[in-house]
Amino acid sequence: MIRAGVYGASGYIGGELLRLLLGHPDVEIVSAVSTTRARRRVDSVHPNLRGSTDLCFCAPEDIGDCDVIFTAVSPSVAMELVPQIAHRTRVLIDLSGGFRLRDRAEFTRYYGEHNCPELLGEFVTGRPETHRKELTEADRISVPGCMANAATLALHPLAAEGLIRPEVTIDGRVGSSGSGVTADIMNLHAERSGAMRVFKPQRHRHEAEVAQSTGLTVRMSATGVEAVRGVQTLIRVSAADGARLDDRELRRLYRDYYGGEPFVRIVAQKRGLYRLPEPKILIGSNYCDIGFSTDPEDGTAVLVAALDNLVKGGSGNAVQAMNIRFGLPETLGLGFPGLHPV
């Protein structure tokens, strides 16, 4: 059994990590760390886990030695924490934004000064679809941001093949759980309900990740929408000189890149209620759905990608990376297909 510890276990992503790891046949959770809930039962904070575990949260100093530690905390906490706990585990999988960017200057531009910039180069991007081989040997893994993961998966094949102009625009939409478990006045029901809040009209942090992963020049805005879970990104692209973007070409390209991927589906349908990727039906699943609509007249396309921000946008992706790192079947513990209707 793989002995796993989770820091930030009382948060939303931490809770999803616990849910997935409790259902994983090869994992034993030895520590669920919470600075605010130490010694309380896990299911007092995550009621969906009632009957699944008698685990209690522990204080950071009480964590035992682990084979893998997940850190589901804020970037600033991760920067403090990671150097302190690295010796306690063979494999560390960070789900914060603290170690996603390789370039220190870029990190400073989007997040501020880094406490341990010397560690930035040690982390492998935890995106199996683009880094599977490196993940088999990676001891430090950084899981991509939710909107960045969706957008990168949609853009990667087109960028890698040089089919689009380098300037792309991403419109990201995200549910309220993307704000994390800490409430403030902005997240009062009276303020949030019914709102479509453009909380970052320009320079969302995830644009730096997408740029790093694709080599493109990325501009990204982000809007909080009336949903608890879910990410949907709409990406406007233009064909590079001499390239052609039409529906058949794009479908063939995505099939070539993702036809063998267990958690990426091509969704661009002519009929039905869900013709393009819709996060509503991905809740709880580890899928990223990718679709497209092309305009052959002007050579532009809109790429659409959707996922559950807490699963393929966080905890599920982390477990998938762990499976790869420990030589397990990649889909182990991740078989939930989502719900409909929901």
Partner: protein, 60 residues
């Protein structure tokens, strides 16, 4: 339960469409990739065409 016996490209999106044994002319099949409704134009050789949007009788 029918046995899938033939694969042919979807005329709309070029994905593989598997067609069950014993399918007849004018029957409708669905492409799993783009969900287009496809009409069996001929059985031998197997030929599919995108079914018209509005018709009275699909032969189903």
């Amino acid at each position: 339960m029918s046995t899938a016996t033939a694969a042919i490209s979807c005329p709309e999106c070029e994905s593989d469409v598997t067609v069950a044994d014993g399918i007849r002319q004018n029957e409708i099949v669905e492409c799993a990739a783009c969900m287009s409704e496809l009409e069996v134009v001929t059985v031998e050789p197997l030929l599919l065409a995108v079914a018209p949007e509005v018709e009275e009788d699909w032969g189903e």
